[in-house]
């Protein structure tokens, strides 16, 4: 018999529907896998009692024929999503033992549709990082290893726990968030599928805020179809988030297998970087050939402001973070470090509670918003952002349906590689433009590097056209096959 944990979400859904197994059995199989994989450090909180209670309740519903679209499916939840009565920390010391008295909109929709929560997943502190090494719970380990080596590799970040857990088959899918690449980069580094939907597609309510004009929630899963199934439950209008868009949620799964014949796919010349590894170049060309074989037309396009996206991001995101993180003051929740005055209490609490990366970004953000520097940095970056978005609009106006790029400049790197901050930021060079323009982007595994590590391709879509990304992503998945790490843990 196939291991229950190795099923895809779609297969498990069918198995539950035709009563081949129960949600409790499926949930127990995953709880066992989580326990056996603690060395990956993907989960920061396991919630087995709650998982079994949810599974039993949903089994009863399935028996009555009332199961929802995700009935009985065990998921992992990034620790950035507030979960009622379950500790939520954003993997920061400053939130300490925070136990939300409320549930995020996105997770409440997953439970509404019958999903089961296995626990909370590790991430970079406040989602600031590209390797999941800034978490106060320590780094996450990638289930992938280089061929013939046992060096521990990072899973990418910030949704490193989500990506690692999905790749290692500890959960059937996971929630994640993406501010500059935090869904797509870890998906690419772990051989999983991750989609960041259009800004406004998912409610941000109840998700710990990093940079509000860039943050979006999305799923990480093992197949394009599974990510489409999860996306449908996660998306939707929420009056509690004024930036959430009031638009019907399509049946994303119906886009899987749809013909891509005649679609125009842009290949942006500015994404061809100097010194780009030959294997990334090859992967990109292969992806283009697969889409062409499926009937799409590949066209050369230009996005002239691409190189300015990362520097503009590193002004806008820290600026918004410095404002959002002002709430951590040691008074209303989380860590408190005493001081002789209230000012000292704030300063001591924030010095002790924030890790080095968060402190660095809050300080940069404070600086670029401060009197005398606002125009030179923040306002200029917002203007550059307008130009970056216009590049994409011009491209789509020429009839381009989607844009194909590499997902990351390299495969997974070693834990503790000690990149300097700017080197680390370059991990998001292909993904950050998409957040700046508010567009949907999907990362799909497409090949391997010379050391047999997975590599991903990214497809960027028109606003609210996630369906085209699922159709195109499926073509790549069908051609490239699926990527599963050999178990060593």
């Amino acid at each position: 018999m196939t291991l229950l944990t190795s099923l895809t979400l779609a297969e498990a859904r069918d198995g539950l529907a035709n009563k081949s197994f129960t949600s409790l059995e499926l949930t127990d199989a995953h709880l066992g896998a989580i326990e056996a994989a603690r060395t990956l450090n993907a989960f920061v909180l396991e919630t087995p009692d709650q998982a079994r209670a949810m599974a039993r309740a949903v089994d009863a519903k399935i028996a009555r024929g009332e199961g929802g679209p995700l009935a009985g499916i065990p998921l992992g939840i990034k620790d950035l999503f507030a979960t009622r009565d379950v500790r939520t920390t954003a993997c920061s010391k400053i939130l300490g033992n925070f136990v939300p008295p409320y549930e995020s909109t996105v997770t409440s929709q997953l439970w509404r549709d019958g999903a089961v929560m296995l626990g909370k997943l590790n991430n970079d502190e406040f989602a600031m990082g590209s390797s999941n090494e800034t978490s106060c719970f320590g780094p996450v380990v990638n289930p992938w290893r280089r061929e013939g080596a046992n060096t521990e590799l990072v899973p990418g970040g910030s949704s490193g726990g989500s990506a690692s857990a999905v790749a290692a088959m500890l959960c059937m899918g996971a929630t994640a968030t993406d501010t500059g690449g935090s869904i797509r980069q870890p998906a690419a580094l772990t051989g999983t599928v991750g989609i960041k939907p259009t800004y406004g597609r998912c409610s941000r309510w109840g998700i710990v805020a990093f940079a509000s004009s860039l943050d979006q929630a999305g799923p990480i899963a093992r197949t394009v179809r599974d990510s489409a199934i999860l996306m449908r439950s996660m998306a939707g209008h929420d009056p509690k988030d004024t930036t959430s868009v009031d638009r019907a949620v399509p049946d994303y799964e119906a886009a899987i297998g749809k013909s891509v014949k005649g679609m125009k796919i842009g290949v942006p010349r500015e994404y061809r970087l100097d010194g780009m590894p030959a294997e990334i170049e090859k992967l990109w060309a292969e992806g283009a050939a697969w889409l062409k074989a499926a009937g799409a037309e590949l066209v050369d396009v230009s996005l002239p402001h691409t190189k300015y996206a990362l520097p503009a991001y590193y002004i806008i995101a820290p600026a918004e973070a410095s404002s959002n993180l002002a709430r951590y003051d040691g008074v209303r929740y989380g860590l408190r470090v005493p001081g002789r005055s209230i000012g000292e209490l704030y300063e001591n609490t924030r010095a002790e509670g924030f890790g080095a990366e968060v402190r660095r970004r809050v300080m940069i953000g404070t600086y670029v918003l401060s009197a005398g520097y606002y125009d030179a940095y923040y306002l200029r970056a917002q203007k550059v952002r307008t130009l970056i978005k216009k590049d994409f609009e011009d491209c789509f106006a020429k009839g381009v349906h989607a844009i194909l790029t590499p997902a990351t400049p390299s495969a997974a790197f070693a834990v503790g590689a000690n990149l300097d901050p700017v080197e680390m930021y370059l991990n998001d060079i292909f993904t950050v433009t998409v957040n700046m323009a508010g567009l949907p982007g999907i990362a799909v595994p497409a090949g391997r590097d010379a050391q047999q590590l997975p590599l991903g391709l990214q497809l960027i879509g028109r606003p609210f056209d996630e369906e085209t990304l699922f159709s195109l992503g499926e073509v790549i998945e069908q051609a490239a096959g699926r990527f599963t790490p050999a178990r060593w843990w």
């Binding site: 520097p311 408190r336 660095r360 600086y367 203007k383």
Partner: protein, 95 residues
């Protein structure tokens, strides 16, 4: 542009983060590396370009100005480090 040690201390104070004298040179180096990285934005011609305020064109939604929630003081103070009778406790602010 680059920042000096005094500016690092000023930013830290504005950000309400205590920094020790030992940390200043390191932070100064890091902040300057980031500022050097973003410096390339100065070569972009932004004349006549509107700064982005909303990435998805949308009108700010408004809701009726009515009380639709409340009576949850226990929930509000539940995670606070120090409270007394539904109040947050802080060091003395007014002498």
């Amino acid at each position: 542009m680059s920042v000096d040690a005094a500016t690092v201390r000023r930013i830290a104070h504005l950000a309400r983060i205590a920094v020790t004298d030992d940390e200043v040179p390191h932070l100064q180096g890091e902040l300057n590396a980031m500022l050097a990285f973003v410096e390339q934005l100065s070569e972009v011609d932004v004349d006549g370009v509107e700064p982005m305020t909303s990435v998805t064109p949308m009108e700010m939604k408004k809701r009726p100005d009515v009380v639709d929630d409340g009576g949850i003081a226990d929930d509000i103070v539940r995670n606070a480090p120090a409270t007394d009778d539904h109040f947050f406790l802080v060091p003395k602010v007014v002498e």
